[in-house]
């Protein structure tokens, strides 16, 4: 036998068999990592996504805690202190034409915007997921009809629906939620339906069925892990879209009206004051952009981390 250049002293004990149980052969060499562990590890590496996550937490915290940080309120008017520029000693974000603290208004507005976004997302998920589950599970004609409806709904632009809805309902949180959420749920419906269809074909589904498990339990038990992925991704995408739409609608006058604050309303006011008081636009705009960017980046990161195809 040729050996490498290294000097190896051969002793008889080296040639003794290794004591091993049958189970050892099955052991996977290398650190075993489950799906979630692997996903978490991958996510941690993505520093941008982590940073985005931190920003979101920061924004959420400030939205809740913000008003307590200052002695002012979002609606309290101080007419003798109109249009003050931001300063560290006075109003951190400045004041508006009624002397209201921009800092408080911005965070109050953020709360409203995020609240609407949350409602829209909840609606999206509830409607979308039930629709998709039913459509996928029952299949056949029911599925065909439901899918046809979805196809048509897809063709109706959100803008149109939103405008039409808001024209008849008075602008407010509920009407905005309905306006934005009315047609947006089709994506999650489709995703869930895909999952259900895939599940239906798998053997363990048939096996459970033959064991007599009830329909509902079947669907929920096997669906849950896959559902998690869909829910997370939908959330990350729907929130910034909803925030954007709310802001947009408020900007063109169909959304939240003053004195109530929302990010869109504040930006709208700020745009009008751009020439003389740019800070009125800057702060709410910055918060809006931060929310949008962070959710997107985190969403991308989560999607990459949880995507089963990316596992080597």
């Amino acid at each position: 036998m040729e050996t490498s250049n290294r000097q190896i002293t051969f002793t008889p004990d080296l040639f003794e068999p290794v004591q091993r149980s049958a189970a050892d052969a099955e052991k996977i060499t290398g650190s075993p990592v489950g799906f979630w562990g692997d996903a978490w590890r991958r996510l941690k590496r993505n520093r941008i996504a982590i940073a985005a996550g931190c920003v979101i937490i920061l924004v959420l915290t400030l939205a809740v805690v913000g008003p307590w940080l200052t002695p002012y309120t979002a609606v309290g008017q101080m007419l003798d202190r109109q249009y003050e520029s931001p300063s560290l000693s006075g109003y951190w974000f400045g004041t508006d034409e009624f002397g209201r603290s921009m800092f408080d208004r911005v965070w109050a507005g953020t709360r409203v915007s995020l609240y609407i976004a949350a409602l829209v997302t909840a609606m999206d998920l509830c409607v979308g997921m039930s629709y998709g589950t039913i459509s996928g599970y029952y299949g056949g004609r029911v599925d065909n009809v439901m899918q046809r409806i979805v196809e048509i709904l897809n063709g109706i632009p959100i803008l149109i629906v939103a405008v039409l809805t808001l024209l008849i309902m008075k602008p407010g949180i509920l009407s905005l939620t309905i306006a934005i959420g009315l047609v947006g749920w089709t994506t999650s419906a489709r995703l869930i339906r895909g999952q259900v269809l895939r599940l239906k074909e798998q053997e363990f589904f048939l096996a459970s069925r033959s064991l007599g498990a009830s329909t509902f339990r079947l669907m929920s038990k096997h669906l849950i892990p896959n559902v998690f992925y869909i829910v997370i991704i939908t959330l990350m995408y729907t929130v910034p879209t909803a925030v954007f739409f709310e802001a947009f609608l408020s900007f063109i006058g169909l959304g939240i009206q003053p004195p109530a604050a929302s990010l869109g309303a504040l930006i709208s006011e700020g745009a009008h004051q751009m020439r003389f008081h740019p800070y009125m636009l800057t702060f709410p705009a910055a918060v809006l952009v931060m929310i949008t960017i962070s959710f997107r980046l985190l969403g991308d990161g989560l999607r990459d981390a949880l995507d089963p195809r990316m596992r080597q």
């Binding site: 063709g155 959100i158 803008l159 900007f251 063109i252 809006l288 949008t292």
Partner: protein
Amino acid sequence: MLRYTLKRLVNAVIVLFIITTATWFLMQLLPGSPIQNFEKLTPDQRAQVEEQYHLDDPLPVQYAVYMTGLLRGDLGNSYLYGGRSVTSIMMERLPVSLFLGTQAIIIGLVVGLFLGIVSALKQNSIWDSGAAFLAVLGVSVPDFVLAPLAQYWLGLKLGIFPIAFFESWWHSVLPSLVLSTVIAAVIATFTRTEMLEVLGQDYVTLAKAKGLSRLAVVMKHVLRNSMIPLVTIMLPLTAALVTGTLIVETVFSIPGLGEQFVRSIFEKDFPVIMGTTILYSVFFVASYLLQDILYGIIDPRIRVAGHRE
């Protein structure tokens, strides 16, 4: 292929039908009437006008009148502006918006494709990160933030561009640029994703194995396969363009369709709102339809229904 097209066409018609019916329905619920701003009329004149507008007829008749009117292009009359027909108002404003929009698409397409292709080819390099950063920014900074900011900094402070109105072509540049940011960002991201996926495909490796240079592989195989799906974003882009023009025209006081729309919301001029909504819907539906048809033409798998051995 024909069946595919027909199916899409039918869907489009149904959507338009739903939207126009919904708008008519809403019109009935909203305050105001076509003749609210007419000058004082004698009861006889009033009766005459009401008959002319079918205001006395039962609802289904009014609906039929409305729908047939639509097909003729009659969208009713504005509550303001001396009762001008909505169609004429819109037609006056449409060219301006089309001009802005087209300019924005051209800029967005060029910039977006360039950024997308470069970042895919030089993956993980400084170009890629830079382009990705710009793309995220482009999508995340909404037009209603960018437009006032651009107006302030580039228009007012630096004086490069005029702040408002549409008196010359130069006036349209800044608004078009603002409009194009979203388009460029979406195209860049999409192109990059598609190209990366194509680059990882077996047939690209096979092309390399044939001894084709990197350039040849990209030009002959990668680009074509990556561009085909680009057609699928026509709809979101149209949506972005429409919402964008609403904002940009308002901020820059450009007399286009969007500015009119926003103003009519503010003025509660419902016929104009409805009319514009219908026009926008037609745009959306048309672009959705076009997108589907184009995709069928471009992808040979759909165009040439294969016969298997």
